[in-house]
Amino acid sequence: MIYPGPVARLIEELGRLPGVGPKTAQRLAFHILATDIHEVQRLAEALLAAKAQTVNCSVCHNITDVDPCRLCRNPERDRQLVCVVESPKDVAALERSHEYRGLYHVLHGAWSPIAGVGPEQLRIKELVDRLKAGGIVEVILATNPDLEGEATAMYLSRLLRTLGVKVTRIAHGLPVGGELDYAADDTIARALQGRREM
């Protein structure tokens, strides 16, 4: 072993993180070693606290430090609208837009036979229960516009329609501020399919 045990272990643990290869893990480890002990302590505490003090909201399944989460508790939100997304990161993205004022439902994944993830592993049953409890008028399917997200949306639309709610899919098309001749063929094809009258 080139590095002393504790350092090697740190490199190994960092290397397990997504997007971190052996080289980056090594660089991060040496950065941490060169850092003031109090700062390292803060980082370690932040890691533990983030994990220990968050749960999935029992209503929408977004990550939260209070249950139900702040979004679900907020009286200003439109309780007739539920937006279905794959991950908590998607909730954050939608919130940044300040365009949406309804509630959320986080599936924690998308349907991917290759990865061995079927609809039964997603929080779909929980969504159905929410709809059955009443009060929700429209479900917006905002899963990713890739094969897996699209399959999930198709599956959900078929299932949810039987519950008497309106089911909509967010539009895909040209990025705002983009140029037509730079867009990929399939993006343009989608944008044409999703055109609207004006």
Binding site: A151, M154, A184
Partner: protein, 368 residues
């Protein structure tokens, strides 16, 4: 576009080789097993990331060494830059264009396209349909990023759907589980089918024309597309539904571009079963020449033509015909045991004599 300089390091039988090339015709002569083909293989490798002789990159490494490297300085309308592709046992493959690393070896990034004519191409006719699909995907569609995306999307969808069918273990899958993947397979598959149909339609007349000239007008080569799916996604879904039963029993998708066939026929009869060796050889040349022509008119860049010992199988008249049809293009590099024929095909070729891992220039200084 042409290759100006080529440097091989520990590539096949070469320890270190530097060659200068010019636009026009270059001839690599020499006895058998001296390393002529290795030079073409190196150019093809740096242009496409593939070898026509092996799927294992470690086969390209000189025996006893850990890695190999090919560097090609190319000239695109006066602008010169280096492409460098290396393979190392431990580090794997690395590719750079003008010293900037790229993940994929691709003509759309590098501007270097190549069409290789080799004895192995006969497998294109004699081999199974997968050889002909690979020919479409890798050779004809080189430089089409749109096709590559469409095919990747289809293949991913196919993998999902096959897994779903397999996991069902022969028992019925409800429509709610199958429909989403049917619809997406049909959409992505129809896109691939449409692109293949277009490309084959523009390839076929060229191939027929070359075959006709090579055989003195005696033979008509028909290149036809036999899609397993459909251009129309609605029709595609119906094809899948009709096969649902059998698909479940076999645990695999039975219709779609992964089962397409590129039919090659002479006078209505399959070349594979009815063609003579000579007819098959001609047809391969015709197809490849048609690809070169197609790329020339569809890319912003003329492909480099690499002819690996294929002219020796033709008589002088046909050699002459082929060379005229391939045109003086931008750059053609040929290997041959003899060099007698070249004088009538091109007035002033650059000639290298290849011998035991070295190459000696025997004619003409490079002026290009």
């Amino acid at each position: 576009m042409h290759v100006r300089e080529l440097v091989l390091e520990d590539f096949r039988n070469y320890h270190h080789l530097e060659l200068a090339f010019c636009p026009g015709l270059t001839l690599l002569t020499g006895g058998n097993a001296q390393g002529k083909t290795n030079i073409l293989e190196a150019i093809y490798w740096v242009a496409t990331g593939r070898s026509h002789r092996t799927l294992e990159e470690r086969d390209l490494v000189r025996s006893g060494e850990a890695g190999c490297r090919v560097r090609a300085v190319v000239d695109a309308g006066g602008r010169q830059y280096a492409l460098e592709l290396s393979f190392h046992q431990a580090q794997g493959r690395r590719f750079s264009i003008g010293a900037k690393p790229y993940r994929r070896v691709d003509g759309t990034d590098s501007g270097l396209y190549a069409v290789l004519f080799a004895p192995e191409d006969l497998e294109l006719i004699k081999g199974p349909p997968v050889n002909r699909r690979r020919f479409l995907d890798e050779e004809v569609f080189q430089g089409s990023a749109g096709y590559r995306r469409a095919l990747a999307s289809y293949n991913r969808c196919l993998a999902h759907r096959n897994r779903l069918l397999k996991d069902a273990g022969g028992s019925r899958l409800s429509a709610s589980l199958l429909d989403p993947w049917n619809r997406q397979l049909a959409e992505t598959g129809a896109a691939v089918t449409r692109l293949r149909r277009q490309v084959i339609a523009s390839l076929a007349p060229g191939a027929a024309r070359v075959q006709e000239r090579l055989t003195g007008g005696a033979e008509r080569l028909q290149v036809a597309y036999r899609p397993s799916g459909s251009d129309d996604s609605g029709e595609f879904v119906r094809l899948l539904e009709a096969k649902a039963h059998e698909e479940l029993a076999r645990g695999a998708t039975l219709a779609g571009p992964h089962r397409d066939e590129l039919a090659l026929e002479l006078e209505g009869k399959p070349l594979r079963t009815h063609g003579s060796q000579g007819q098959q050889r001609c047809a391969v040349l015709a197809l490849k020449a048609a690809v070169a022509e197609y790329l020339r008119s569809n890319l912003g860049s003329t492909p480099v033509l690499l002819l690996d010992d294929i002219l020796s199988e033709l008589d002088r008249r046909r050699q002459h015909e082929l060379m005229i049809m391939l045109g003086t293009g931008s750059q053609t590099i040929i290997t041959s045991v003899t060099q007698g024929w070249s004088h009538q095909a091109a007035a002033d070729p650059l000639v290298y004599e290849v011998k035991a891992g070295t190459a000696r220039k025997v004619q003409r200084a490079c002026t290009g």
